[in-house]
């Protein structure tokens, strides 16, 4: 059984990655062709010609105006995936149409619906407005992960690993030693994990970017909407400072760390990461520092999870894991993801 939930929105790319050129990316085991029309909207269709499967992203396939011409035999498709010309005959077979995917470009991401297009509801896409809003500056990237997406979910739902895997960057002793509160709303599909450290060491990631030295209040509030979008609301403030009752929080620095966790295949994942901040907005040095450091942290995770994937892929069935208190949120996420993946099987066997 596939572990990848279907009938879900997934981040396919950053908007900046898609131009008026052929661009291919595999999502949830489906090779998808993207390009931006001359009017500026993003199209997403299957990256395989219906004729003999030649990849439409592969030269000499090419984009001519708003049509894609297959580089093998010249089958030509419009932006909606419909075949408009085939070689040597005037009749285009009625079934000659590329699978087309619902697409929404929002908050700097290109979202794609993987599943039955009739069920796609764009209002269900979780929002991250600060990635593309005035008053915030964002650095972002994407790393390939040679591991199943659930390993990255596990990793991000339990930040106590920061103390060990990311010591010297974002980890300090308090992260692993501060109790957490976990909330799970099954109906809304949200998992929320709070860890509020009221008197903690300031890790280099934050001391160098905010200028705060010594002890700090460090709040980590995780909001995960399975399967794809993970938000870490990070608040860094002088010890003793709390937000005002009206929600304003002038003494604090806010960093919104966003991950989009998109399965590429059953055993590989696109690890999109973004760090948005509401301070030092014009400071290129802070941007460069946060980008380099977050990428380093992501790569530390990637290295560890790539190793784990190899172990899991080759071990005999039935390994008994041990879970402890820190895993409460991760267990909730696993359960929700299993239910989402199972719902697909139910639907297809009915």
């Amino acid at each position: 059984m596939s572990a990848i939930p279907r009938n879900q929105w997934y981040v396919a790319a950053y908007g900046r990655e898609i131009s008026h050129e052929l661009f291919s990316r595999t999502l949830c085991d489906e090779p998808i062709l993207f390009w931006r029309t001359e009017a500026g909207s993003v199209t997403a269709t299957s990256d395989r010609c219906v004729h003999r499967r030649f990849p439409l992203s592969q030269a000499p396939s090419r984009l001519v105006g708003d049509q894609v011409v297959c580089g093998y035999h010249g089958f030509t498709y419009g932006a909606d995936g419909k075949c408009v010309a085939v070689p040597g005959q005037t009749r285009v077979p009625r079934t000659a149409r590329l699978t087309s995917y619902p697409v929404v470009e929002q908050d700097s991401f290109v979202w794609v619906w993987i599943g039955d297009p009739a069920l796609a509801d764009a209002s269900r896409i979780p929002r991250v407005p600060y990635l593309d809003a005035a008053g915030w500056t964002t650095v972002s990237g994407r790393e390939p992960l040679a591991a199943r997406f659930s390993l990255l979910v596990d990793n991000l739902l339990d930040l106590s690993h920061e103390t060990y895997l990311h010591g010297g960057y974002i980890g300090t002793p308090e992260v692993a030693n501060t109790p957490i509160t976990t909330e799970v709303d099954d109906e809304a599909g949200v998992i929320y994990v709070s860890r509020h450290m009221d008197d903690a060491e300031c890790p280099p990631f934050y001391s160098r970017s905010t200028g705060l030295e010594g002890r700090i209040a460090r709040w980590q509030d995780i909001e995960y909407t399975p399967p794809c979008l993970y938000k870490l609301h990070s608040r860094i403030a002088p010890v003793g400072s709390v937000p005002n009752p009206d929600g304003t929080d002038p003494d604090a620095f806010h960093v919104e760390v966003v991950y989009a966790i998109t399965p590429e295949t059953e055993n590989s994942t696109h690890d999109f990461w973004a760090v948005a901040r509401d301070f030092a907005l014009e400071d290129a040095e802070v941007s460069a520092f946060l980008a380099e450091n977050n990428r380093t942290v992501v790569l530390q995770d990637v290295e560890a999870l790539d190793v784990l994937e190899k172990i899991i892929a080759t071990e005999p069935e039935g390994y008994q894991e041990l879970s402890i208190n820190i895993d409460t949120g991760g267990l909730a996420a696993r359960r929700m993801l299993a239910r989402m993946a199972g719902a697909r099987d139910e639907a297809t066997t009915r």
Partner: protein, 70 residues
Amino acid sequence: MIPEAPPVLNGDRVYRIHWVLGTDRLRAVCHCSAEREFEDPVELWEWLLGHPAGHVPAPAPVPPRELAAV
């Protein structure tokens, strides 16, 4: 008294799990208000998801007048 973080999610069927400060225990609170402490998150989820089996709503808070009498 167990310190409790303020709730964030406001749906009708929210499960809450508090790591009890200063201990190794987890306190599970069901949306039906039943609650129980655990040392193992796997057992905790089995109990929470087993709702309503074994879920006895928590007793109503003691009114302040009675508290004063104690």
